[in-house]
Amino acid sequence: MIMEAVKNGDLQQASTLFERYNKRIFNFLARLAMDRALAEDLTQNVFLRIIKYRGSYKEGARFQSWIYQVARNVFSDHYQAHKNKYSDFVDVEKLKDNMPETEDEPWEEKEKLLHRSMAMLPDEQRELLVLTRFQHMKYEEVAQIMNTTVANIKVKVHRAVAKLREHYFELEKN
């Protein structure tokens, strides 16, 4: 409903959408990009696109699915544009610089371990885990966002969890 108002020119309503979704989108992008500063820039881009391309929002569509689709596009456009600058995998050693825990949220050892093993997953697997596990999104909605079937999402999520387990306990041994 709010997005429909924005679409019809009431841009002020975008503030409400920002209040409701900025943290979710920021968390999604930060976990996906593994870089907080970058995630803030990308989150800003997501909301800019939502305002700029408000005309492409289909009335009656679920807004949350739409904003996540926009966020995925912003993320993938960013990496398309920086193809030569970044390699396919995240450099685990550099993560400490990009994802520093703030003073009021000190990370426990386990969480650091989780973070490092997440970094070892390919983008697609990491993304699926962020959506379904970190953000507790239902398989149905993820399937809608990624334009695929629920069964397909479930198989992929299970594989990603299994892979994460491997990395996690490998790292724990060292």
Binding site: Q12, F18, T43, L48, I51, F134, L164, Y168
Partner: protein, 268 residues
């Protein structure tokens, strides 16, 4: 641990992992759940796998939420204001507490109604004016084009007639086109029609000046006579010298000289 397995074992392991994840997620039927529980009791390797899967799943579930910096909100507000500015709906004042927002909304609604009514009136007038101006511009271009039509004298006469009938106040462009037609057009009818049109604008200073100037250069007797009559009508005393010259100049038609005499009498 997984390096030397054959594909069959890998498939089995994937099936087991999937079952265990559903088990941890609480997504199994009663019957499936019992089967898994029995397997976990019986198979130590499966139990370790279960324990480890449970740990990573719980770690993800309980991962802390990341907080964006205040900068994000600030830059969003800035961006939104820019976009609203581009939208050209005027400036918007941001009120944080919702009470102010509601109050402002009500105030704006009331004011907006009144202002909107007033604006729509203004806009109607502005639109009307713009439409008229557009029409005038069209007429102007049309008549100038007609006056300039080298192939058709009747078109040029028509152009002068349009100027006479449709133009309320002639601008310099129209006046110059008419003066040029009056002085230089090879066809008498066109010259006369142009003069007739200019006569209508005789109260405009520039037109008056051009008419006076034309008297000294005009060679067409018909136009000369009409011009002298117009000068009398306009009570243009500044042309007496010129009229004197016409009465004495050689080669000027007697009818023109007579008209100049009459003019001199009336103006002095």
């Amino acid at each position: 641990m997984n390096g030397s397995r054959d594909p069959q074992d890998d498939m089995e392991k994937e099936k087991l992992e999937s079952l265990l994840i559903d088990f941890i997620d609480g997504k199994l039927s009663e019957e499936e759940r019992k089967t898994v529980e029995q397997e976990l009791v019986r198979n130590a390797e499966a139990f370790t796998l279960y324990e480890q899967l449970k740990e990573v799943i719980q770690a993800m579930n309980n991962a802390s939420r990341l907080e964006p910096s205040d900068h994000l909100k600030v830059s969003f507000d800035k961006m939104l204001q820019e976009e609203m500015g581009k939208q050209q709906t005027g400036k918007t004042v941001f009120f944080r507490p919702s009470l102010y927002r509601v109050a402002a909304a009500v105030l704006l609604l009331v004011l907006g109604g009144g202002i909107g009514f007033w604006i729509s009136k203004q806009q109607q007038q502005a639109t009307e004016l713009a439409r008229m101006k557009e029409e005038m511009d069209r007429t102007k271009q049309l008549l100038i084009g007609m006056l300039d039509n080298q192939n058709s004298a009747s078109q040029r006469v028509e152009g002068a007639t349009v100027a006479y009938k449709s133009v309320v106040k002639a601008d310099d462009e129209i006046v110059n086109a008419l003066v040029k037609a009056m002085n230089d057009d090879p066809n008498t009818n066109v010259r006369m029609a142009a003069l007739e049109a200019l006569r209508k604008f005789q109260h405009q200073p520039y037109v008056r000046k051009m008419l006076v100037a034309s008297l000294s250069t005009q060679k067409d007797p018909m136009v000369q006579i009409a011009l002298i009559r117009l000068m009398v009508e306009m009570k243009e005393k500044g042309v007496t010298e010129e009229l004197q010259r016409i009465t004495t100049e050689e080669g000027v038609l007697p009818a023109v000289k007579d008209e100049a005499h009459i003019g001199l009498m009336r103006l002095s």
